[in-house]
């Protein structure tokens, strides 16, 4: 469909979009999404295995790429897997993901964030599981309520409540200036 002429109809343009999305390779997806996914896993899990979690989510997408690539927003799928695993009580003991990311890492030891930022994310992790996921998705990806709801598979009203309560709790704990939930 490339090189459509000047009289291209709206339908043709829509077909172009669908076709381009279908042709996106896992490699392109990985390069675009991976750094942000690692950041997301780090702030949400706060554990030494955060990078593994991101890589495991990508491995899961890789194994199911035929299905995942056909979703409206493949990134939402991998973010959801990452969000669930980041707050999971359980950790995989396979060494595959760890080895992969170690080799892809530019440095052995990660530099810490600024202290006030570390403290912010630490407080986010003290929120309830769902509040933490909603807050992290909102700020790390600049996602709105509808996109967060689609990512986590819950109602928009639920997201609004969690986001509002999460913000209020963070304001009270960090700034000591209670913010009224919306």
């Amino acid at each position: 469909m490339a090189g459509t002429s000047a009289d291209t109809t709206g339908e043709d343009v829509r077909a172009d979009v669908v076709e381009l999305r279908a042709y996106e390779t896992f490699d392109a997806f990985f390069r675009r999404e991976m750094p942000a996914l690692v950041a997301f896993a780090r702030v949400l899990s706060g554990s030494a295995s955060a990078d593994d979690i991101a890589q495991e989510a990508m491995l899961a997408a890789y194994r199911q790429w035929e299905d995942v690539s056909r979703l409206d927003v493949p990134a939402a799928w991998v973010r959801r897997v990452c969000a669930n695993r980041s707050v999971s009580t359980f950790r995989r003991r396979t060494g595959e993901a760890r080895a992969l990311l170690r080799l892809g890492s530019r440095r052995e030891e990660h530099q810490p964030l600024a202290q006030e930022h570390e403290e912010f994310w630490s407080e986010v992790r003290q929120l309830s599981r769902r509040q933490a996921q909603v807050v992290a998705l909102h700020y790390m990806y600049d996602l709105g309520v509808a996109d967060i709801a689609a990512t986590l598979g819950c109602a928009e009203g639920t997201v609004k409540v969690h986001l509002s309560r999460g913000r209020a709790a963070l304001a009270a704990r960090i700034l000591h200036t209670p913010e009224e939930p919306e």
């Binding site: 669908v18 076709e19 279908a22 042709y23 390779t25 896992f26 490699d27 990985f30 390069r31 991976m34 750094p35 942000a36 690692v38 950041a39 780090r42 702030v43 554990s47 990508m58 491995l59 890789y62 194994r63 199911q64 035929e66 995942v68 056909r70 939402a76 959801r80 897997v81 707050v87 999971s88 009580t89 359980f90 950790r91 995989r92 003991r93 595959e96 080895a99 992969l100 990311l101 080799l103 892809g104 530019r106 440095r107 990660h110 530099q111 964030l113 006030e116 930022h117 912010f120 994310w121 309830s128 599981r129 769902r130 700020y139 790390m140 689609a150 598979g153 304001a171 960090i174 700034l175």
Partner: protein, 273 residues
């Protein structure tokens, strides 16, 4: 500074750090190499099975080498917005009703107090979480559960036996537990035993779980279970042909042990086979 301003600054900082630390191209190359090696190994094992399987295995290898997307006809590109139902291994049977492709398939009737965001832990376990309590709380279902030794090796403890009944007795006598009770029950119409206990204060915690010292109980290919000072729960064990001993772990990180009570509804909604 408002909480929004602080949050945006913290997010920018986190993204910048991850961008500096991670080399996506290098990580991607390693991923392809690892998957290629695994695919080749798979194909070689298939040779033993027969010529037809070789063809199928070769097709898989060829696809995974390229990492390319098989482009379906445009007509079949029906976008799905239900991410849960698009996860391989989960079949959506209706509202709140899922079938999980564990070694023996499990049907889960998810109560409203659970998220319904069941996630797979490898090929033989899955878990879901409560949405009505503050502390992290949920239920994990393990098939082919392996009882593990009271050390940091996560290796099989042969003294536990191989049946749900023998593992129930073994678990109830773990030296790191106290206030232990065994309750006969049933899950999906199958006989089962529930073991409830508390972690004995001051005991040695030789393993590690969730960055906490832990007393291990069960392990699998990619998962494990344990007691930690902040993680309490109960175990329900049953025999399911094809799935070995199934362990249903009801757990909570909530300070209020009453948080566990609502987990029973999830367990009551499980059927195997």
């Amino acid at each position: 500074m408002t909480i929004d301003e602080l949050a945006h600054a913290a997010a920018t900082d986190a993204r910048r750090h991850a961008g500096r630390d991670i080399d996506p191209s290098n990580a991607l190359r390693q991923l392809h190499r690892a998957r290629h090696r695994r695919s080749v190994a798979t194909a070689l094992s298939v040779v033993v099975v027969g010529a037809l399987a070789i063809v199928a295995g070769g097709a898989v290898v060829a696809h995974q080498r390229t990492g390319a997307v098989v482009v379906p006809p445009l007509a079949s590109l029906t976008p799905s917005t239900d991410l849960q139902c698009s996860v391989t291994g989960i079949t959506c049977l209706g509202p709140g009703l899922y079938r999980l492709a564990l070694p023996v398939p499990v049907t889960v009737a998810v109560p409203p107090s659970f998220e319904g965001a069941t996630i797979a832990l490898g090929d033989d376990a899955a878990e879901d979480y409560r949405n009505d309590v503050t502390g992290h709380t949920g239920v994990t279902v393990f098939e082919k559960a392996v009882p593990v030794r009271y050390d940091n090796t996560w290796s099989r403890d042969a003294t536990a036996g191989t049946t749900a009944r023998s593992m129930t007795t073994w678990l109830s006598k773990r030296p790191f537990l106290t206030h232990t009770s065994i309750t006969p029950t049933s899950v999906g119409g199958r006989p089962a035993w529930r073991v409830a206990a508390d972690l004995k204060p001051g005991v040695d915690l030789p393993a590690s779980k969730n960055n906490e010292s832990a007393a291990p109980t069960f392990g699998g290919a990619v998962w494990n279970a344990a007691y930690t000072p902040s993680l309490r729960g109960s175990y329900t064990l049953l025999d399911v042909p094809g799935a070995g001993v199934v362990v249903i772990w009801s757990w909570t990180l909530d300070k209020d042990p009453q948080a566990l009570v609502g987990n029973q509804e999830f367990i009551d909604g499980l059927t195997f086979g």
